[in-house]
């Protein structure tokens, strides 16, 4: 017989402490409370990846299921608040602000298998780890994020970041973000030179991050009072800076106002770190070699070999080839209904942000519970994604949009087309708390 729970049994001491601190401030908001009722199941649910998506869905399902066995697979012990890395690389935050332990966030009842999935075998409802161990499942949730493919840029290695060779990359890791800041400082203290900023030829997580790095570096260059001594160039493989036309035009205009040279249809192909030369393939033209003093590398990004080589990926000829195949509204794999996706791994427009994960988690939980109960999947993802576009250290724009680049502002009083101090404060002070609440499955 399933255990009967008292309504307050799932409230932890940590929750009660929060209650005492927060109740006075947000008492009236209590009226908006609501939660999903627990569903009984004996299913074994396997979650691949203990990042933003994996942790938040693990917490949500722990609260909304009774009797389920939940297993999460990942080797990574540290959890990083990746959206904070742009602030680290811009010299605004220290590293410690973005680092916690995965174990701090995972519910005790979740079984954590420390391994990496090497193969998906959905026909036999199992995944095979790099060690050869197989893990069988009734339901599979793939939350493995994406892979950074620095190896696809000849001569590039993450070990080069911050080594005095002018190479930075905010994406590689927390240490790399800090090293990028060191490298930018080194360039600025030289007093002159060329900085090359790049976009990759693939989908990327937080498409605004390469722009943010350019804007915060411009800010720092302008602060020297000798901006004209520095040359800043931005390379775009697609000719576009941002997917949403309004912001694309805005950034283009701002780049021209701030003296940034744009090189459209240029893709970073090779780096000679010792000679400080970057080679670009140029659409319809000859390769070009550029000297640099600072190079911000943004690597191509893919879903990772295990997924790409499985029947769970979009196949060649389909859109989003190599990324996880899901119905973009229900987040269910159309060929294997017991396989679901969340986060960066999924093939869909934009949506590779933590802000999207927050929406994915809600939709996935609702549809997952409906599916377990044999009900139709009614929750639909609207494509929501968001990125506070930092346009200088101290100001930002709240960019929020969904499918077809439709703007989806969360706050009627914040103008999504204006730079604002309030949005900067949100980015700098509020979004990390909101992210942690998301990890806990509370928002």
């Amino acid at each position: 017989m399933p255990k009967k729970y008292l309504p307050f049994e799932s409230v932890s001491r940590r929750d009660l402490l929060k209650f005492s601190v927060g109740a006075g401030v947000v008492g009236p908001l209590a009226l908006t409370a609501g939660s999903v009722k627990a569903v009984n199941t004996k299913a074994h649910i396997v979650i691949v990846g203990a990042g933003a998506g994996g942790i938040s869905i693990a917490n949500r399902l722990t609260n909304s299921l009774q009797g389920a066995k939940i297993t999460i697979i990942d080797t990574r012990e540290k959890h990083y608040y990746q959206p904070g890395w742009t602030l680290v690389a811009s010299g605004v935050w220290n590293q410690a602000k973005t680092e916690t332990q995965v174990s701090d966030w995972l519910p005790k009842s979740v079984n954590w298998v420390k391994g990496m999935v090497a193969e998906y075998d959905p026909d036999n409802n199992q995944v095979i780890l790099e060690t050869g161990q197989s893990v069988a499942y009734d339901q599979l949730i793939i939350a493995s994020g994406l892979q950074l493919r620095y190896d696809l840029i000849e001569g590039m290695d993450v070990g080069l970041i911050g080594q005095g060779k002018g190479i930075g990359s905010v994406y590689a890791s927390l240490d790399a973000a800090a090293a990028t800041n060191t490298e930018i400082k080194r360039w600025i203290s030289k007093g002159s030179g060329t900085g090359l900023f790049n976009l990759p030829p693939t989908a990327l997580k937080c498409a605004g991050a390469p722009l943010k790095m350019t804007f915060t570096t411009l800010h720092r260059l302008e602060d020297t009072g000798r901006r004209d001594d520095f040359n800043v160039e931005f390379m775009t493989p697609s000719g576009k800076l941002f997917g949403v036309p309004f912001y694309n035009d805005f950034v283009k205009q701002r780049f021209s106002d701030q003296g940034v040279t744009r090189n459209d249809f240029w893709t970073l192909k090779a780096v000679d770190a010792d000679a400080k030369k970057a080679t670009y393939s140029v659409k319809g033209g000859e390769d070009q070699v550029k000297d640099y003093d600072f190079l911000h590398v943004v690597p191509p990004m893919t879903a990772g070999a295990a997924l790409e080589n499985s029947p769970l990926a979009f196949q060649p000829g389909e859109s989003f080839t190599g990324w996880m195949k899901v119905d973009r509204e229900t987040l269910q794999n159309p060929d294997y209904p017991n396989v679901w996706g969340i986060g960066d791994v999924m093939g869909m427009p934009s949506n590779k942000t933590a802000a999207s994960v927050k929406m994915h988690a809600k939709v996935l939980e609702e549809n997952f519970l409906a599916s377990l109960q044999g009900k139709p999947l009614t929750a639909k993802h609207n494509g929501y994604t968001s990125c506070p576009l930092i346009t200088g250290i101290g100001k930002a724009m709240l960019v929020e949009f969904g499918w077809d680049s439709k703007l989806l502002p969360s706050f009627s009083f914040i103008d999504p087309k204006k730079e604002s101090w309030t949005v900067w404060v949100m980015k700098e002070r509020m979004l990390r708390p909101a992210y942690y609440a998301m990890l806990e499955g509370k928002i």
Partner: protein, 111 residues
């Protein structure tokens, strides 16, 4: 957003500032309690400090609050920005009055 969701965000936002919140509560309570034991009420007579320091705190806050967020008043741009900044500065001005008014009262008594 659920109730516990909202609380969780508030909790994580307040967490790095708990020491400051505690310090501000102590700085607020200490003069209030001491002065009240000596007959102070909000209607009591203050002094120069409680007259001029709160407006000074308000004006300084207009510049210092954005700086505290690693920004600057130059980036206070939209009406929401101004409302937030002026609101926060008025709040700090009122807080300063609550601190300086009883202190001035105590000084007046000594004099």
């Amino acid at each position: 957003m659920t109730f516990f969701g909202t609380l969780t965000v508030v909790w994580y936002s307040a967490l790095p500032w708990l020491w400051l919140i505690a310090l501000m509560v102590i700085i607020f309570l200490a003069p209030q309690v001491i002065a009240r034991m000596k007959g102070y009420s909000f209607g009591s007579q203050g002094g120069m400090g409680s007259k001029y320091l709160p407006p000074l705190v308000f004006v300084l806050a207009l510049f210092l609050v954005p700086m505290q967020t690693q920004s600057s008043i130059a980036y206070v741009n939209t009406w929401v920005d101004w409302m937030n900044l002026i609101g926060a500065s008025i709040g700090l001005g009122i807080y300063a009055w609550f601190v300086f008014h009883p202190i001035c009262y105590l000084r007046n008594r000594k004099a």
